[in-house]
């Protein structure tokens, strides 16, 4: 295969700059006369802001101070709802909420200034956990949120689940919880801002330049031509730099406007952990009916998300959670009731998976429980219920695309030695001495809908294209950001492929809102599939013009294409643009929650093998097979890397990463006690692809960036079921939950077999549908 085409393991286009230290991240930038900015934050989770007192004995003369009254536009972060202030005004709704901004050239002086501000607040009762919200403990006066504690409610209904409970052979009920999880990009949030000739420019670590631009237009009261947003090299995002950078950009821009100087704001790790968004904690109560043979007859799920203090993106996260909650299973009677609740914690937000991991965890835990009750192997129960082509999902979407979930699952079972190991561990665990490790193997089957949910892509109306410039270099014009996932390389390969050009002819524009069109945010596993398709179409247009106008032969080799590009470029710069066209066969009814929420899905079957140390409760993931079908793989090397990294995050989500909440704030906001997997905590994750091209992305490529977050934790928990002979329902599953679980089943009568014992996390209370 020629290099840099679709399917080739091309080198990352920006690899050299990242290996030499030449890549400039935001903290590596500086400007003449630059000052630093910091944020004064709320010490309390909720209260009236009575006053911000500046110590008169401190020298404030050179310190820039910005409060809410200095905001020239609207003191609101424009997202789905305009409920979140840029700087709290009057009432504070979460700990760490920004109250005041300070700027000075000397960071040490700034730290002294921080200590010279006294925040006076009158504390108000708040609702600090999802369970409190569910128990209707949210204070009513003043309400925890203007729209009430319930920020969003969604119901998906197919058939009549209520008709099934009475006659079914088995009804299982379950309640599961997932904790908050920190994105933990290794580069903390950071932004620079300056004002020149009436234009406010921000340059920083971000995923979505046009989100930030819109935010600045609203907050600063400026037209789009007066705001410019440039992405710096970004050290990881994972959703954490989807919506949050808008606030930081607004803060930096306000300080720049007030001081007239360039401003840099870089969070340290503690501030980043305590103040920025995390994955939504969830609590799902579900009930399913089965026939004796294991056919899923009915499914009813009550899915709850903790949104935190403001709406941010929670309605869409809830939507994706609810849409993924029924899993890849056929079921005639399904109801999913999803609710996102306001609480007085920092707002939860986008994190890779975007609700799907919570929904997927609930259904996969439920399937494992049902398998145990039915006396079936969990893999066998899944095989009896998997969706097939032509089946209809809970929203009535007909699975039109070519798919073979049974084949995928069988391949994963064979590749992991699932059946053999399952039997082997069953015996070994029975014979194990008190100090011997207990082993287990577990499967998760799942999917991830690629692209924006519902009518989202229609609303985004993305645009991307190519510009032919001096020397015959074709520049990709897109707002899609390279954040480590490989977007720049993949888009280059797509353009090379459609043009037949060598990689040297292609260049990727820096995402800069004054230079590139709005190709939408870099989120939702949409860049390769949606933006890649636009680049592919634009490149085909250019190729056609090369053939028509310049007489390029249809079978021209890459050098001939490069030469034709150089010749055409002598006529001056030209552009080929493509606009999003919604496939007419994708129909979605936002009100009824009926139709095709996604044009296509990536499918996966993951198998985890674990060993639990009965003395310490520690779990080692000894083997992990991640098998997926995300259509055509554009770059196998980068795709493997992305899945490997996602599985690692999923193992952290399952076993390690606990946000400890205390009084509405993160009590472990340090890397020494919020622990993510190191090289020593992970096995050699094995990644395999099946490639069934879809009729949608470039050459049939689907989105896959978020996929590994959805099924990793359920696979690990399923393996823990076998190792422990008991089941856990809350993640992260830490040694302190695993150890008592193991001890509870030490008696020989209760080990393994149908009807696993249940061990709930210490926070769990109340039965299903309580």
């Amino acid at each position: 295969m020629p290099p840099n085409r679709i399917g080739s393991p091309s080198r990352r286009v920006e690899a050299l700059s990242k290996l030499t230290g030449a890549a400039r991240f935001v903290d590596d930038l500086g400007m003449e006369g630059m000052i630093h900015g910091i944020t004064i934050r709320s010490p309390l989770p909720r209260g009236h802001l009575v006053g911000l007192h500046l110590d008169p004995s401190f020298d404030w003369s050179e310190v820039t101070v910005v409060g809410p009254s200095d905001i020239p536009g609207c003191n609101r972060v424009p997202l789905l709802d305009d409920d979140q202030p840029v700087l709290a005004d009057g009432i504070v709704n979460h700990a760490e909420e920004p109250l005041l901004l300070l700027g000075h050239r000397d960071p040490a002086h700034l730290e002294r200034a921080r200590r010279a501000v006294r925040v006076e607040m009158l504390e108000l009762p708040g609702v600090l956990t999802l369970r409190q919200a569910l128990r209707n403990e949210a204070p009513e006066d003043p309400p925890v949120h203007p729209r009430g504690p319930l920020l969003k409610e969604i119901t998906i209904l197919k058939g009549d689940p209520g008709s099934q409970w009475g006659a079914a052979d088995l009804v299982v009920e379950d309640e599961v919880e997932t904790g908050a999880q920190e994105q933990l990009y290794i580069e903390p949030q950071g932004m620079m801002a300056w004002v020149q000739d009436g234009v406010v420019t921000v340059h920083g670590s971000l995923q979505c330049p046009f989100y930030v631009r819109r935010g600045l237009e609203v907050v600063l009261g400026l037209g789009p031509e007066k705001v410019r947003v440039i992405q710096a090299v970004t050290g990881g995002g994972f959703g954490g730099k989807e919506e949050y950078p808008t606030i930081l950009a607004a803060h930096a821009a306000l300080l720049a406007l007030e001081s007239g100087k360039p401003v840099k704001m870089i969070y340290d790790r503690a501030e980043d952990l305590a103040a920025t968004t995390k994955r939504h904690p969830s609590l799902t109560r579900s009930r399913a009916a089965f026939s004796r043979q294991g056919t899923l007859l009915a499914l009813d799920m009550e899915l709850n998300l903790d949104a935190g203090a403001y709406t941010t993106l929670s309605p869409v996260v809830l939507s994706r959670a609810a849409l993924h909650a029924p899993g890849p299973y056929r079921c005639q009677h399904t109801r999913v009731h999803g609710r996102a609740w306001a609480t007085n914690t920092p707002p939860h937000g986008a994190f890779r998976g975007f609700g799907a991991p919570q929904g997927c965890f609930a259904i996969e835990r439920l399937m494992d429980l049902a398998a145990a009750r039915l006396g079936l192997d969990p893999a066998e129960l899944r095989l009896r219920n998997l969706l097939r082509r032509g089946d209809t999902t809970a929203t009535g979407q007909v699975m039109r695309e070519e798919m073979d979930l049974h084949g995928l699952v069988e391949l994963a079972l064979a590749g992991s030695g699932y059946r053999r190991r399952r039997a082997e561990y069953e015996g070994a665990n029975r014979e194990a001495g008190p100090e011997d490790p207990r082993r287990g193997i577990g499967l998760a089957v799942f999917m991830h809908g690629a692209g924006f949910t519902g009518s989202g892509e229609v609303r985004l109306a993305s645009r991307a294209g190519l510009e032919l410039g001096a020397g015959g270099v074709v520049r990709i014009l897109a707002a899609s950001t390279e954040i480590g996932q490989g977007a720049a390389t993949v888009l280059t390969q797509v353009a090379c492929d459609a043009l037949g050009a060598p990689a040297a002819s292609i260049d990727v524009a820096v995402p800069d809102t004054s230079e590139v069109p709005d190709s939408g945010p870099t989120v939702a596993s949409r860049t390769t599939m949606v933006v890649g398709s636009l680049v592919e179409r634009a490149a085909r247009g250019l190729r056609e013009d090369l053939e028509r106008e310049a007489g390029l032969a249809a079978d021209a080799d890459p050098e001939a294409v490069a030469e034709a590009l150089r010749a055409m470029a002598r006529g001056g710069p030209r552009r080929w643009m493509a606009d999003y066209e919604h496939p007419e066969w994708v129909q979605w009814d936002e009100e009824a929650y009926v139709g095709d929420p996604y044009p296509t899905y990536a499918w996966a079957a993951y198998v985890a093998q674990v060993a639990v140390d009965p003395l310490t409760g520690e779990t080692a993931v000894e083997d992990f097979l991640a098998l997926q079908d995300a259509g055509t793989v554009v770059n196998p090397l980068l795709a493997e890397g992305q899945i490997e990294g996602g599985v690692a995050q999923g193992i952290g989500f399952a076993l390690m990463e606990e946000v400890v909440w205390s009084g509405g704030r993160m009590a472990n906001a340090r890397l020494s006690n919020y622990v993510i997997p190191t090289a020593m905590d992970l096995p050699r994750i094995r990644v395999e692809f099946r490639e069934t091209p879809a009729g949608y992305g470039p050459r049939g490529a689907k989105g896959m960036g978020e996929l590994p977050l959805d099924g990793t934790a359920p696979a690990v928990l399923a393996a823990l079921d076998q190792a422990m002979g008991t089941r856990l329902t809350r993640i992260p599953a830490l040694p302190e939950q695993i150890l008592p679980g193991l001890q509870a089943v030490r008696g020989p009568a209760s080990r393994g077999g149908p009807g696993l014992q249940e061990v709930r996390g210490p926070a769990s209370r109340g039965g299903p549908h309580a």
């Binding site: 393991p9 080198r11 990352r12 920006e14 690899a15 050299l16 700059s17 990242k18 290996l19 030499t20 230290g21 030449a22 890549a23 400039r24 991240f25 903290d27 590596d28 994105q183 933990l184 990009y185 290794i186 580069e187 903390p188 090299v233 970004t234 050290g235 990881g236 995002g237 994972f238 340290d268 790790r269 954040i483 480590g484 996932q485 490989g486 090397l637 980068l638 493997e640 890397g641 992305q642 490997e644 990294g645 996602g646 599985v647 690692a648 995050q649 340090r670 890397l671 020494s672 993510i676 997997p677 190191t678 090289a679 020593m680 992970l682 050699r684 994750i685 990644v687």
Partner: protein, 166 residues
């Protein structure tokens, strides 16, 4: 009020060049190196947990956020900016590009230097040894597989082996 502390005069060798500078007793080597223009030294946590600020000081891997600058008096320091002149580090750079060991790139300088410290004392490490040697360097993108493959690839090349999958 404590007495203002006077800066200390320092001399250190950074990537082969002599630098004379002043640093306050509490100042971190991380900040001093970044002020010298070595912005490949990254701050990820400021408490020695993530390894993004890793450098080689007299051949040893250290987290420069935990090292007072004055402790580097007379030291020989190598950052990622100086990697190209060192055969082991140069091969690691090449192997990380070849085997996709870098994704977002923020942990990469520290990762390369940590791997370099390993390969300088152990020519042919196995995977477990590599995992131990990189245990102090956090990466959130890769799951470490491609990083380990990059190090294995570099070791193979340095030991004179040709192309071959690690």
């Amino acid at each position: 009020m404590p007495e203002p502390v006077a800066p200390v005069r320092l001399r250190m060798r950074v990537n082969g060049a002599d630098h004379r500078l002043e640093a306050f007793p509490g100042e971190r080597l991380l900040d001093v190196l970044r002020l010298l223009g070595m912005t490949g030294v990254k701050e990820g946590c400021g408490e020695g947990e993530c390894g993004a600020c890793g450098i080689l000081m007299d051949g040893r891997l250290v987290n420069s956020c935990l090292v007072p600058a004055i402790q580097a008096l007379g030291a020989e320091i190598v950052t990622i900016e100086g990697a190209a002149t060192d055969p082991v580090l140069r091969q690691l750079q090449e192997s990380f590009m070849e085997r996709a060991g870098a994704q977002c790139g923020i942990c990469t300088p520290g990762m390369v230097l940590a791997a370099g410290a390993l390969l300088k004392r152990r020519r042919d490490p196995n995977e477990a040894e590599i995992r131990r040697a990189l245990g102090g360097n956090l990466c959130r993108c890769t799951g470490y597989v491609k990083i380990i493959d990059s190090v294995l690839h570099a070791a193979r090349r340095l030991n004179g082996a040709g192309e071959g999958h690690p």
